[in-house]
């Protein structure tokens, strides 16, 4: 029996190759996006891991203390711990060079006097070339390069390599080369070694190290040595295995990964709609065939199994192709994600080809087949419940569909209302999975409401389209409304695609607006001077001396120094902003959302308290008046929280403290920002050039007016959401695919009708117009549904997702401008998508169509 049914299926596929191709394409795109995001995630995480492990060499433990590092005296303590065989200090910076195309170079400051046992793979005697070992050790401008980098830029022994350091451009002399393996292979091989003490001087590290790499005695217990180190070192220092540090970075970028994963599931959902659409129509087209099969003794369950079998095979084939396509998409996605990680989080990674993971492929395959089965379930059930007598009697009567049932409508309405209510009133503590169910309820409810929405829209559109486009407009709307199930599937795909675009657009815009408001309140100075074009530079900082010079520029009324760094907290990394609290809270008296500003100002300025961001408060459960305990490189720091404010610098949370306290506990007097308030009637542009002149030759400075800074932040947000924007485009393309699918099928279903129109005098161009206007009508309904769904999903994203992912409280801003831009663009895409089906309609042979059954 199954072989016979498989024959029917295979003949159907041969006859309807286009429908088959479009359905498969829906699965392919959905699975490809899903698999690409998963693969890019793991590739990025792995590249962080690989980078850390390679940089660690054969170290078994590493001591770190956040970005500011820790005092170099600590090295003695570490070396004195039993079981520590080797302990080598490290400084690690990514510095710009002034070679052609200005490549960045990962410079590792190592103790060049040691025998480098931790990096033997990179420095084995056979391949290490040091022309003059004595000169390399004694001269502080010595630098060794990976051979790959040297060859790329034609650098030879004793050539000068210009590097931007803390003190401006500094020429290093090339005195050695090493193999581009091990640590030499990270960062695309753009790696250099200088002496750790030379690095301290060049990059303003003072008497601190970034890290100490430790090789332990293999005969001793690593755990006990680690425990011993933890006990002997100040609590602010972290003793971890290199692999655990990679996990830390994975945590830091988890929100980016989570966001992209959610988005990839949405792409898959749109794919499900396309499959549902295709199967629904396939059942309609094969009504008579099903009737014949039933009359020949094929049972209901066998009919259902025939359709579900088709779904499995299509799901399987589509998923396999999707996995292949996704793997290649992952290459591009990894690049984008790496650049985001570098720009936003300041992490260095080693470019890696996408890793093909069989477990991910199996998951993608499973997801693809399951989605295909899910989408085919209802049409298959409908096919099995078909009355064979009716089916055989007159196929035309079977093509009519029932409209929106009252029960369906009520369930849809209830789901939407409850989803919105839960989003509004539920606490974030219920967890991510439960909260995601709210969005699912809203979306499911809207899908159930679609037939009713289509019916209402048709009533509104019919006279409008009739007036605008004549009878062709009326026919277009009627055709759309006549098959609510088929139309609902297409409109549903459009709705989800557009909802995805609008909701994400709203989310991004809400973030931008919230961030702008926050910057207006907190960073409302005339000029802002920073060391880097990235959010965080782990390399370049201003010295207090430079800040003093900038403050002395005529026309500058007040200069506030700000250190922006990150410290470990609760197993994660939170942002720390060390400010002149008195100056800040005087300048921005309304910045606090909770707490008394004058109390906060006087106490925090004396180092007797902290201010925290609201998302820190939410994430870590610390509120106004609570004591906040921080582990610093020199001991524990406990202070009360005196103020809470909305601040969006880090999704892990931000702590504000007075810079004097920071300097005392972190031994770090570097600065990242200088905020300048100017005298009245002073032109900011004139001051900009004077500031540049004051710093010239030492440190590169990026100077922004308040407005320019906000624009720069906006660009960074756009960069962060690059992949989301790309996925928005994919969503629209997938939805357009659904539209093509529906229209092709609509045209083939209406062959006779189109034939009759032609027979009684409809011109080819009128038939074309009808098909195009049907697409327009569907798109209009899809846009309306997309806006409604977009608003509700945007509400969900800002209320829930922003809180889950980052703990941010965002006021909802709907991107109406985006809607106005999207409307004509989507209509254009719809018309392009409809062009080909319209062509098919026009080319229909009238005589055959009239006689068509």
């Amino acid at each position: 029996m199954f072989r016979a049914l498989a024959l029917i299926t295979s003949r159907q596929w041969q006859q309807h190759k286009l429908r088959l191709a479009l359905t498969m394409l829906g699965i392919v795109l959905g699975v490809a996006v899903f698999f690409a995001v998963q693969t890019a995630n793991i590739t990025l995480v792995s590249s962080f891991q690989v980078t850390i492990e390679k940089l660690a060499g054969s170290a078994t433990l590493q001591v770190t203390a956040g970005e500011a590092g820790f005092p170099q005296e600590t090295l003695k303590t570490i070396r004195a711990i039993p079981g520590v065989v080797i302990a080598e200090p490290v400084i690690e910076v990514v510095a710009r060079t002034s070679l052609p195309d200005q490549p960045n170079l990962l410079i590792m400051g190592l103790d060049t006097a040691s025998d480098q046992k931790l990096h033997e793979d990179m420095f084995d005697e056979a391949t290490l070339e040091i022309s003059n070992p004595l000169a390399f050790l004694t001269k502080t401008d010595s630098i060794a390069l990976s051979r790959a980098f040297a060859e790329q830029y034609g650098l030879k022994h004793n050539d000068l390599l210009p590097v931007f350091t803390q003190k401006g451009r500094q020429d290093f002399t090339v005195r050695g080369f090493f193999k581009p393996t091990g640590a030499g292979a990270v960062f695309g091989g753009n790696v250099a070694i200088v002496d750790v003490f030379a690095a301290q001087t060049a990059f303003g590290r003072g008497a601190t190290f970034d890290r100490v790499d430790i090789k332990t005695d293999p005969n001793s217990s690593l755990d006990s040595i680690q425990q011993n180190l933890r006990e002997r070192l100040p609590p602010g220092l972290h003793v971890e295995r290199p692999s655990r540090r990679g996990e830390g970075i994975e945590n830091a970028t988890a929100s980016m990964n989570l966001g992209l994963t959610i988005v990839s599931f949405l792409a898959l959902t749109i794919g499900v709609f396309i499959i549902f659409n295709s199967f629904g129509i396939s059942v309609n087209q094969r009504w008579k065939e099903i009737g014949i099969l039933r009359s020949l003794g094929v049972g209901r369950s066998q009919v259902q199994q025939m359709f579900l079998g088709e779904a499995v095979v299509m799901g399987l084939l589509g998923s396999v192709i999707g996995i292949v396509v996704g793997f290649y998409l992952a290459k591009a996605a990894t690049k984008v994600m790496s650049s985001i990680a570098a720009a936003i989080y300041g992490y260095v990674s080693t470019p890696q080809p996408p890793q093909f993971r069989w477990d991910y492929a199996a998951t993608a395959l499973g997801v693809g087949i399951f989605s295909s089965l899910l989408a085919a379930w209802l049409p298959a059930r409908a096919a099995s419940r078909l009355n064979p007598v009716l089916a055989l009697h007159n196929i035309e009567t079977q093509q009519r569909e029932t409209g929106s049932g009252r029960v369906r409508f009520m369930i849809g309405l209830m789901l939407v209302i409850s989803g919105v209510a839960l989003t509004r009133f539920s606490t974030p503590r219920v967890g991510l999975m439960i909260q995601c169910l709210y969005a699912v309820a809203i979306q499911l409810g809207l899908i159930l409401l679609l037939p009713a929405m289509i019916a209402i829209s048709a009533r509104v559109l019919r006279p409008v389209m009739g007036r605008l486009f004549g009878i062709e407009g009326v026919i277009g709307v009627d055709t759309m409304a006549r098959a609510p199930r088929r139309t609902a599937a297409t409109v549903g795909a459009l709705m989800i695609g557009l909802s995805f675009v609008f909701a994400n657009g709203a989310f991004i815009q809400s973030q931008k607006r919230a961030l702008n408001r926050s910057l207006d309140r907190a960073v409302n100075t005339d000029l802002l001077v920073t060391t880097s074009e990235q959010v965080r530079s782990r390399t370049y900082h201003f010295t207090e001396e430079i800040a003093g010079r900038v403050a002395a520029v005529p026309g500058v009324k007040r200069a506030e120094n700000l250190r922006v760094t990150a410290i470990p907290y609760g197993g994660d990394e939170v942002a720390l902003l060390a400010h002149d609290m008195d100056a800040w809270l005087t300048r921005a008296p309304d910045v606090l959302d909770e707490g008394d500003t004058s109390t906060a100002r006087s106490l925090t300025a004396r180092g007797e308290g902290f201010v925290i961001s609201r998302n820190f408060s939410t994430r870590w459960g610390v509120g106004l008046g609570d004591s906040l305990r921080l582990e610093t490189p020199v001991g524990t720091l406990v202070r009360p929280v005196l103020g809470v404010l909305e601040y969006y610098h880090s999704e892990k949370g931000t702590i504000f403290m007075d810079r004097e306290v920071y300097k005392e506990f972190w031994r770090d007097n570097m600065l990242d920002y200088i905020l300048l308030t100017l005298n009245e009637n002073v032109e900011p542009e004139a001051i900009k050039s004077q500031v540049q002149a004051a710093i010239a030759g030492e440190q590169q400075a990026f100077i922004y007016t308040h407005q320019e800074y906000k624009e720069w932040v906006t660009r960074l947000i756009d960069q962060f959401f690059t992949l989301t924007y790309l996925q928005m485009i994919v969503a629209i393309l997938v939805a357009a695919l659904g539209l093509i699918n529906t229209l092709v099928i609509s045209v083939s279903e209406r062959r006779r009708e189109i034939g009759v129109i032609r027979a009684i005098g409809g011109l080819r161009k009128q038939v074309r117009k009808m098909v195009l206007l049907e697409a327009v009508a569907m798109t209009m309904v899809g846009i309306a549904a997309g806006i409604l769904s977009g608003v509700l999903n945007a509400y969900f994203l800002v209320r829930t997702a922003a809180t889950i992912i980052a703990g941010f409280t965002l006021p909802l801003e709907f991107p109406f401008a985006m809607v106005f831009v999207a409307m004509p663009a989507v209509l254009m895409v719809a018309l392009l998508a409809a062009w080909w089906p319209a062509r098919r309609a026009v080319r229909l042979r009238v005589v055959e169509a009239i006689g068509y059954e």
Binding site: I471, I475, D478, A481, A759, G761, L763, R764, V847
Partner: protein
């Protein structure tokens, strides 16, 4: 040019079908149909009746020979010109009614006028009058699935005649109706013919239907084997 009172003229018309033209649907047909004439075409299945009808209205083109309609050589007209000719001068009625399912009776009837670009209120005014003529004044707003078979065929007739075409092509108009309803439709056709004086080309299997015409053509294997004028009661 065809003679003055011939609205349709076929000269040596043949039609071949199939990949290698193996099926000879029509063979060297010569035929003239005069203005106001009612012609019944009968013949067994596959004899070429529907092919003949499709050729006359320009839906299909002959393999050889020429067809002239109302002075126009159809072979010299483009597809759009043929379509325009159809919507201005040829009404068509089908066995399966072929009404547009989403449109009401009124909208179906006014549809050809609206295709011609007439304003909806003007077209609907005329359609209302036409529906009254076919006895469906009260069924204006009903959709096809809310009408009986006879009513649907009346709507189809009204649609075909809304622009008062000189030629009505009817392909088995009573084929899907019971005999009483079929007879009603034929009487309606008689009545409309009397009032509008259009030419009717009626393809049918039904001798009773053919009896409503003045002329009978019998086709067999693509050839006219009988062409006679009937004596009407």
């Amino acid at each position: 040019m065809a003679p003055r009172d011939a609205i349709v003229s076929l000269k040596q018309v043949s039609k071949l079908f199939g990949v290698d033209g193996g099926v000879h649907a029509l063979k060297c047909i010569d035929l003239e149909i005069n203005l106001g004439e009612r012609v019944a075409v009968m013949g067994p299945s596959g004899s070429g009746k529907s092919t003949l009808l499709n050729l006359i209205c320009g839906l299909d083109v002959p393999t050889t020979g020429s067809i002239t309609f109302d002075g126009f050589d159809l072979s010299k007209l483009s597809d759009d010109e043929c379509t325009r000719l159809r919507r201005e001068k040829i009404g068509m009625v089908f066995q399966t009614f072929n009404l547009l399912p989403t449109l009401s009776a009124l909208e179906n009837v006014s549809f050809p006028l609206r295709l011609q670009g007439q304003r909806s209120h003007v077209a609907e005014e005329r359609a209302r009058a036409m529906l009254e003529r076919v006895g469906l004044k009260e069924r204006n707003s009903h959709r096809p699935d809310e009408l009986s078979g006879g009513e649907r065929q009346r709507v189809a007739l009204a649609r075909a005649l809304i622009f008062e075409p000189p030629l009505l092509l009817a392909d088995e108009p009573t084929g899907n109706l019971d005999s009483a309803t079929g007879e009603e439709i034929l009487h309606l056709l008689d009545d409309l013919h009397r009032r509008l004086n259009m030419t009717i080309f009626l393809v049918t299997h039904n001798e009773l239907a053919a009896a409503h015409c003045e002329r009978l053509l019998i086709l067999r294997d693509g050839q006219i084997v009988k062409d006679e004028f009937l004596e009407r009661n």
